[in-house]
Symmetry: C2
Subunit: 773 residues, 2 copies
């Protein structure tokens, strides 16, 4: 991923795209010299401050405070002065300026030739990495050399706390920035090394960042250290002649802990040791380890898409960011923007279980497990919240960092109870793909049981015996507080049955949670009786009860500038009309495919496609999958393109705040579940592949029950194999309804012709994604 | 209305009960000496500040700012020091302390004998009034005399701006207090007179208050003036021997204007002249005029209720506060708390048209007209709001002072579109009662037309031709965003038909508003097709579509401390259950009685009574009326008592913030529409009287088409007469289905026996109003 030139108007967007992370530390792709910047950010997974929420009219159980991500001290900064003039690409002459995100090496490289306003030229090259194998470590190697004549240099390597972060917009989806969130607790500076320890006020978290430097410079260059509570600086000064070079390598280590946990000095010792160890090993060792880790990851994660080089590259970009967003160890999850920006206040939303984990489960199942363990670690808060809401079991937050509900608009949040079923679904999916019975019997079961209890309590038996979920908000945020949202109801059914199955599979663990046969039977009965609103006249499912009787949206009087609708129309209008922000009923057909006949799917796609405006980046991918399933392959491909280009093309004008990880994950779903036709909701792995014209060959891999399954699709045939497996090992997969046993030897099957799906259902006027010729 | 003793725990409540107002100036019943206080307040109708609203998650068309009532400078203060010790009823010995709100004289009298901690006794008598006939004028006469021996007195008469107002609670229904809202612009002080001029910052309103004093004291008493930007003080000091007396009379005049309207000096001149004129006339003249004005008002407004002296007094208290809340001249409305407190931020809510005007229309129709003119004056803001909401016509604010929407929680506000129909209903009711065709052809028609346009645009024709109003919130705030709320739909029908009738009656005025025959026909068609959800199985109307299919509230697990439910349960639970905060379907039966059969009314009362928790003070009165109509007269009487005692018994623990004018109005409705059985929705005046056992005799008056109709009910007979009419004049009234022509000579008819209504429907457990034995 390469960008050339200054591109000053898109700094923040570029910072998101060039962000580096390892699931623990995240550095936005700011310039080494810090300025100009769009929105600087250096994050630690889970590190946040709390801020009070004020309501014009409050209400019971409205959260009183919200978590908001704040930057940890930024160790990426290296500033440069050339003959007294600061390197700033807005001044002087930028002869060349290129930045490359190397998706295989896992580094961000920069190569700049700059002539200062005074006429002194330098070349700067830097390489930055956030170490995948070494959790606390990030590093940058920075080189300067004169271009034409001798120069006087000053190079400052900074570790900077409380970096200024601009408040970007009034858009409710953007972040609320806490200024100066960190209070200095301790600092040490010793020659080339140093450490800063800070804490947050209200969330009571402590963060320590250490830096260790290596200097490779002519002897005349002087080295000097300087330390204030919020800044640790190493300065190199001196003349540099043509042919000479200054190379500064900085190794940083990040840790955080609760204030009442590790004391400041101890935390400082920890990161000092980590930074020193990284320096002892050297930058080249970090590079090699980074490459090795990515090589291993890409073996499973890579997708080959022949026939569309732009999207091939975009898919790899998407997967790269998914891979670096999470951690395989511990219990950390993945926020909606990962560690790439402060959008949505850095919150974790249902995007994680709804979009990201359904990919990582097959590419990096340990990361999926870590994220589910994080949910499990926050069961106490979810139980408290359920009690506060006068419900049962657990109610997970709609948005959070620290585990407590942080949403300030309950109809789109608290009422979005489906997040609980999404978590249960992710558990079931993870267990099905990995066979991880230990996880199932432990955190998995507890998550399933507590969410099942929620649904059982929340539901209502009507006179006719049907089990209803009234007054909830489904995925589509242009509806709210509706009855019997099909997505929610079917996911709750899956949740209830999954909990019942798991309880019977792990009877002792279930008993320890107080589950008895009567409770299991009650769950099954509720699931069996679940209401699923269907409009018999129109032959389509209703997104929620009554949906198809609502007025239509007035698309004829809706202009291009009216999108996203939520910024130009009141909820009063949006909620009561048949206008859909994002796949909802369509997502239900993706998650619970067995609940719909093929004919229903085709009719539902035809009905909801023209009513779905895709004002959410979560929409295109599921729509792509279902369009592919019902045979509209060109439409599916264009929707896939929208999903995968969300950030590279900044389609929503929001990439500046961080990447849309769910949309990037959706790109993989569109390929693998859409064109690969992969489904696994019944615990078996099936493929109904069908390729659009634009794809000559599509190859991808899945981790399934400990194996690496490779699937290669061309217009003519589908090929299944376990390239790493021993001669005896096989897995069962289904290909268009035929059961195959697949081992190390490839099994091939012809691709059936795609049946004629009839005319493509229109998108809302002006909203069709561009046709990729 | 008399209260004896200090009652320090209920100061704020007492201040509300003893508030004086004339629809323009309002003084809370604070003590003359200002302290101790509960919540001081001196208000001008419409005088407010704007404050920014912050939302954790904003949305399109969420109001960015809100009006909030602020106190005008307080001229009621007279402080006293006795031998250097301040008069404070919390100190020394309070030998006697009595305050009387004289409902006939329209004054608040105080009589206190106090012994200072140093043992010096004084008697203080004061009389306070806010002049009904003289809009800007309020006055207080204050007398001190020694009790036993000589005393050294200091009496300070203050006019105080930016008086400290405590923030009373976190309850969302309380006020948000703006501290120091007034900026001084000008002041003058001259001997016994003075004036302060201030302005607000953001609402840009200017207020001027002048005081003029009369001093009647022994010659040895010295008089001194003092003036700072926020305080104007007149001080009397000197010795007072037994038998001597200091009498200080203060005349105050209040005006306000937009900052870009009358300049400060001009406004000052205005109030100085008013205060001086009042002084020239003298306090006794003000008293006499006050008495005369009230005598005239009581002739129509008085209700005689024999058999229950406590409630007789309470009813007169209620009516007194209704009479002083509004003004007959100009275009001023009546806020939910009138001018008695800052609850609900001093906002005007639908309480005005829904409860207060349906009383004042018959007692003081000029006041009702003034309030409707206020709505009309704010049509521009309502049109703008409709455009912002992408609707048509006018959308009146849910809560406001200055005319713009100020609500911070849209599901209970913006979605409560019924306020528009309530305004239309008040117009129709006013025109029917008065025959004021000039008003109809002017402001009335425009209000009717613009609200009809709203409904026509908002509604949706379903496939079966029915006209639906989806996604609205009816009166019951424990439901929201429901479809086809019966109250809203029937009131919208009335609105549409009323607009159509009026347009046909005033063709030229209608044409000037762009109304043509097609539009009128469209209104009628929409009205005719209006959906009215009915549960055929249960034989009851559904409050909104699907209501009777919702889960029931779990009353078995709801304790006494759980009320009001909104402070202890999330909307998520409240909204989706069959639990009703306040009369909604029942109110529909009161407002649109012709839309229901007698059998339906009885079944609906039986159905909704046990599901209505009356967490709103708006509920008891309509429930009383319908309980009376269907024959549960004891229940009706107890509900009437709840309504009339709302503030005197502080039933909702909210009287401190101001009186519940809607509930006080409801008391009259309970008597006249409940036991009198008065209905007028069809443009004719009918009575189906039925008295509960507790009432021996009930007499009341109505202004109807320019006449004063007196109705006297006893167990045996109903008597109708026009006591003031000439020999020829008659009006048509109906008595239990019989048409009568009533003139100056009484017409009597027997009271038919009350049919057996069967067992009384229960209230929710623990929620029955106490039985009045």
């Amino acid at each position: 991923m390469r960008r050339t030139g200054a591109d000053l108007d898109r700094l923040a967007e570029t910072e998101s795209i060039f962000a580096l992370a390892n699931g623990w530390v995240g550095w936005r792709g700011t310039l080494d010299e810090g300025e100009p910047y769009g929105m600087p950010g250096s994050y630690l997974n889970g590190f946040h401050e709390r801020r009070k929420l004020d309501y014009p009219e409050g209400g019971y159980a409205f959260p009183e405070a919200s978590d908001t991500v704040v930057s940890a001290p930024n160790a990426a900064l290296i500033r440069l002065w050339v003959n007294g003039e600061p390197l700033d690409i807005r001044t002087g002459t930028l002869r060349t300026h290129e930045r490359v995100l190397d998706l295989r090496a896992g580094v961000l490289r920069r190569d700049t030739e700059w002539i200062s306003p005074g006429g002194h030229g330098v070349r700067i090259r830097s390489t930055r990495l956030v170490s995948l194998p070494r959790r606390p470590v990030a590093a940058v190697r920075y080189e300067v050399e004169p271009l034409d004549g001798p120069v006087e240099l000053r190079v400052c390597s900074d570790l900077l706390a409380n970096e200024n972060v601009p408040q970007r917009s009034d858009d409710p989806r953007a972040a609320t920035v806490v200024q100066d969130p960190l209070t200095a607790e301790a600092r040490r500076s010793d020659g080339l090394d140093g450490v800063l320890v800070h804490r947050t006020d209200r969330s009571a978290q402590r963060v320590a960042v250490a830096v260790a430097h290596l200097v490779d410079a002519p002897a005349v260059v002087a080295v000097d250290g300087d330390c204030t509570p919020d800044r640790l600086r190493l300065t190199l000064t001196g003349p540099l002649a043509p042919g000479e070079r200054v190379r500064l390598t900085k190794f940083a280590a990040y840790e955080c802990a609760p204030v009442d946990g590790t004391p400041p000095d101890e935390l400082a010792d920890l990161v000092v040791a980590e930074a020193a160890a990284a320096r002892a090993d050297g930058f080249d060792t970090l590079l090699a380890a980074q490459r090795a880790a990515l090589d291993a990851a890409w073996r499973t994660a890579d997708v080959e898409l022949d026939g569309d080089p732009e999207l091939q590259q975009a898919v790899r970009f998407a997967i790269f960011h998914l891979l670096q967003a999470g951690r395989p160890d511990g219990d950390r999850t993945i926020a909606a923007k990962g560690l790439t920006g402060n959008g949505y206040d850095g919150h974790v939303l249902w995007d994680t279980e709804g979009y990201v984990l359904p990919v990582l489960t097959y590419l990096a199942p340990e990361v999926a497990r870590s994220a589910l363990r994080w949910r499990h670690a926050h069961l106490p808060e979810a139980r408290e919240r359920a009690a506060e809401l006068r419900l049962a079991g657990a109610t997970f937050p709609w948005r959070t960092i620290g585990g407590r509900e942080c949403s300030g608009y309950w109809p789109a949040a608290t009422a979005g109870l489906h997040v609980n079923a999404d978590i249960a679904d992710a558990v079931l999916r993870y267990v099905a793909a990995t066979g991880d019975t230990r996880f199932l019997a432990g955190p998995g079961l507890e998550l399933l049981v507590e969410t099942a209890r929620l649904w059982h309590r929340f539901g209502h038996r009507s006179d006719d015996g049907a089990f209803h979920l009234f007054g909830v908000t489904g995925p589509d945020e242009y509806s709210a507080l509706a009855d019997d949202n099909v997505f929610t109801n079917l996911m709750a059914r899956r949740n209830l049955r999954g909990a019942a199955d798991a309880a019977e599979r792990c009877p002792e663990a279930a008993a320890a949670l107080g589950v008895d046969a009567a409770e299991v039977a009650a769950w099954r009965a509720a699931a069996d009786a679940m209401a699923v609103p269907y409009d018999h006249e129109r032959g389509v499912h209703q997104q929620s009860a009554g949906f198809t009787a609502q007025p239509e949206w007035d698309f004829a009087n809706t202009g291009e500038d009216d999108y996203p609708l939520l910024l130009h129309h009141p909820y009063l209008e949006l909620y009561r009309r048949q206008v859909v922000k994002q796949a909802d009923l369509v997502l239900a057909m993706l998650r619970c495919p067995g609940e719909f006949t093929a004919e229903q799917k085709a009719r539902n796609v035809a009905y909801y496609q023209p009513r779905t405006v895709r004002d959410s980046s979560l929409s295109a991918a599921p729509q792509a999958v279902l369009a592919a399933e019902v045979g509209h392959l060109d439409l599916a491909y264009d929707l896939f393109a929208e999903s995968v280009l969300q950030d590279l093309a900044d389609l929503g004008d929001k990439t500046a705040d961080g990447l849309h990880l769910a949309s990037l994950a959706g790109a993989w779903l569109a390929l693998v579940q859409g064109f690969g036709g992969m489904r696994d909701d019944q615990g078996v792995l099936s493929f109904d592949p069908r390729l659009p014209r634009r794809i000559d060959r599509l190859a991808f891999h899945l981790r399934w029950r400990g194996h690496r399954l490779r699937v290669t699709l061309t217009a003519g045939e589908a090929r299944y194999e376990l390239p790493d497996a021993g001669p005896e090992a096989t897995v069962e997969v289904w290909h268009h309804g035929e059961r195959l046993r697949v081992g190390v030897a490839p099994v091939t099957r012809p691709m059936p012709p795609v049946p004629d799906a009839g005319p493509e259902p229109p998108c809302p006027p002006g909203r069709r994604p561009p046709r990729r010729a």
